[in-house]
């Protein structure tokens, strides 16, 4: 039987538009993890993984040295916007294989550096490389298929900005009305500025441990029950349907299968809302709601202040740190399942889901966690 793997510690920095150096961000997030984990010593950590899109080299070795860690294994993981969960999956694999019992994963980036890389990549987008262009296609296709309105999309943004107010590490400190969002600056005929997430500087760190040692670090381990990943073509233009994210759908199915659960079991979710339409598409593709009913579902959440989708404010409210977002999402679900999410807490949350995707959902990672 496969060894169980738990989340046993975490820490992070506030997401911002600061110019802080990436090694400082990584160090601060890791220091915060140690501060939150009184039973953890540097000698406990056998592997250190850094997730980032930054050009700096050898960051896992540098971070280890600065923290006084002498790991057996250390390396960097890059996979655009889902770098964070990709690194966590690697850590999981190290633990399950027996190569390590305790793994530190730290992710960081500086604002706009990831976006610059996107612009260097998939040149067949011509002069339309920026993510706002794929998001415009997705939004138009989704609205055409399901009759979704601008107000439906604005509600996603209003909900996530409001939720972010109770997240001390969130970039956005302002809640917006639906009307303000619908009147915000127009980017394309299909998108307004408040439909978009914003690239930020920041870092998140998480500690994973095997079932053999997990309770040394916490009395409330959160177990990774399911992992699903799917990589599609690097070019989103190859999709058959621009109103659906097929890699997210398949990754979700794989994660639920591994966890021996289904979408009805999920109490709380972190969804990769790079743009408002992505939240609606993702919750439908993951089976959390039936196709075409995402907007109605999110409106109910907004009207009732139900935080089961994106309680930390999502990527739109919390800000997007390419290397750290996936880790921050997993930390949020861990806090929810431990009952430590304070004002953001979803009552009686037992099972949580994380959805983290890259580059127009050309690849997706989904994780199912349980308290």
């Amino acid at each position: 039987m496969r060894r169980q793997v738990a989340i046993v510690g975490y820490g992070g920095t506030k997401f911002s538009r600061d110019e802080t150096q990436i090694d400082s961000e990584l160090l601060s997030a890791t220091k915060s993890l140690f501060d939150n984990s009184p039973n953890l010593t540097q000698r406990d950590i056998e592997a250190v993984l850094v997730s980032t899109n930054n050009d700096s080299k050898y960051l896992s070795t540098i971070l280890s040295e600065r923290c006084g860690i002498s790991p057996k294994i250390s390396h960097q993981v890059e996979n655009l916007c889902n770098s964070g969960t990709s690194a966590i999956v690697s850590a999981y694999a190290y633990i399950v294989s027996g190569l390590a019992d305790v793994v530190l994963v730290a992710g960081a980036d500086k604002h706009d550096e990831g976006i610059r890389k996107v612009i260097e990549w998939d040149c067949y987008r011509g002069e339309y490389k920026h993510p706002i262009f794929w998001a415009s296609f997705f939004t138009r296709a989704y609205k055409r298929k399901y009759g979704t309105t601008d107000e439906d999309l604005a509600i996603v943004s209003a909900k996530n900005h409001r939720n972010a107010q109770d997240n001390p590490n969130a970039y956005s400190k302002k809640a917006y009305s639906i009307e303000e969002i619908m009147k915000s600056k127009r980017i394309t005929d299909d998108l307004r500025i408040l439909d978009c997430s914003r690239s930020c500087t920041g870092a998140s760190a998480i500690l994973l441990a095997s079932e053999d040692v997990a309770r040394k670090f916490t009395e409330e381990p959160v177990w990774i029950k399911g992992i699903g990943q799917k990589t599609g073509p690097s070019q989103f233009t190859k999709f058959n349907d621009y109103s659906s994210m097929s890699t997210s759908k398949e990754a979700g199915q794989n994660a639920f299968k591994m966890a021996k659960m289904d979408p009805h079991d999920v109490d709380v979710s972190e969804i990769h809302d790079a743009f408002t339409v992505c939240e609606l598409m993702a919750i439908e593709d993951l089976g959390l709601v039936s196709k075409g009913n995402g907007a109605k579902f999110v409106k109910t959440l907004y009207d009732t202040d139900d935080r089961k989708i994106n309680p930390r404010g999502g990527v739109i409210g919390a800000g997007h740190v390419f290397g750290a977002t996936g880790i921050a999402q997993v930390i949020e679900i861990a806090e929810q399942l431990q009952g430590k999410a304070k004002k953001r807490q979803v009552k009686n949350a037992q099972v949580g889901l994380v959805h983290n995707m890259s580059a127009a959902a050309t690849s997706s990672n989904v994780m199912v966690l349980q308290s």
Binding site: G126, E127, F133, D189, T237
Partner: protein
């Protein structure tokens, strides 16, 4: 600069095609993604169709598909008033490569 880019710089839109199984290899590559055979280069037929579009500051752009496989994002020109239609025919008017950036412009057919 690779073969695709050097041709694009001259205004030629080309693709790689497998010499063995005749599969269009897109995005262009040195070997066939289906059988890993060697490729040859040829011009792309300029008649295509529109798969999706959006508009920024009055400028229309969209996903153009050629030969039922090759897809790029193209600036779109039209003599018609109003929005384009999904599936509408188009013709590649020009393409280029400057300062590391590709560009494609197509004319929507009436």
């Amino acid at each position: 600069m690779n073969k695709f880019e050097s041709e694009l710089e001259r205004g030629n839109f080309v693709t790689s095609e497998c010499s063995n199984c005749k599969e269009i290899v897109w995005p262009p590559s040195d070997f066939c993604s289906k059988c890993l055979g060697n490729v040859k280069w040829r011009d792309v037929l300029k008649n295509g169709k529109l798969l999706e579009f959006s508009i920024k500051d009055g400028k229309i752009f969209g996903i153009a598909e050629f030969e039922n496989k090759i897809r790029v994002i193209s600036t779109l020109k039209s003599s018609e008033i109003g929005e384009p239609k999904i599936g509408q025919d188009l013709i590649l008017e020009n393409c280029g490569f400057k300062d590391g950036n590709y560009s494609f412009t197509s004319i929507l057919a009436l």
